[in-house]
């Protein structure tokens, strides 16, 4: 079964969440497609579209903070990188996402 309809739904839902936060989908369309595909599979397997680049702990309180879009719960860190951890979202002014470094929160 194709995951395209669910990917489109997530696109629509997430766009509404990230825009007021100052973010947009990365201009790297291939990356967007790959990440949304992964999230749809995670949602099918585990019940929520978790971040494809963060590990779950089994503790609900922690795991809910990495359900996409997880920007509200990691804002200072993501703002410092101008992108979220998996790179699905970048700051509104970003045109060259490959130039953005990926670093953990204590290195900003």
């Amino acid at each position: 079964m194709s995951n395209e309809p669910r990917k489109e739904s997530l696109r629509y839902l997430f766009e509404r969440v990230v825009t007021p936060l100052g973010y947009k989908f990365t201009p790297d369309a291939e990356l967007v497609d790959e990440l949304l595909e992964a999230e749809v599979k995670l949602e099918q397997d585990l019940g929520a579209p978790y971040c494809p680049c963060q590990g779950r702990s089994g503790v609900r309180e922690e795991d809910m903070k990495i359900v996409c879009p997880c920007i509200p719960f990691h804002r200072a860190h993501f703002d410092a990188m101008k992108r979220c951890w998996c790179g699905l979202f970048v700051h509104l002014d970003v045109t060259d996402p490959d130039s953005l470094p990926q670093f953990p929160p204590d290195e900003d």
Binding site: P52, G55, S57, E62, G87, P104
Partner: protein, 89 residues
């Protein structure tokens, strides 16, 4: 100048794939594990190790000659690779 490189990865994460690709392209040997592809105790052990090393739950976690780099960060990888003149910390 042998470098010891281990990559803790998630199969769902493009940056983990890019990290492995970077080491492939740089012709540096490495070991890697997709933590989410393991099962049971094996998965728990690998995940716990990655979380302990990185102090978080973000992937990839790359261990280069004992130094930990979290995230796809070629500049940091180079810093710790002896074969590239790094390894000084």
């Amino acid at each position: 100048m042998i470098d010891e490189v281990f990559v803790y990865a998630l199969s769902t994460c493009p940056w983990c794939r890019k990290t492995k690709q970077w080491f492939d392209d740089s012709r540096i040997e490495y070991e890697a594990v997709d933590v989410d592809k393991l099962s049971g105790d094996e998965q728990d052990a690998a995940a716990d190790k990655a979380y302990e090393l990185s102090g978080g739950r973000r992937f990839p976690v790359v261990v280069i000659n004992g130094e930990v780099v979290v995230g796809y960060n070629p500049d940091k990888f180079l810093q710790h690779l002896r074969s590239w003149g790094g390894g000084g910390g």
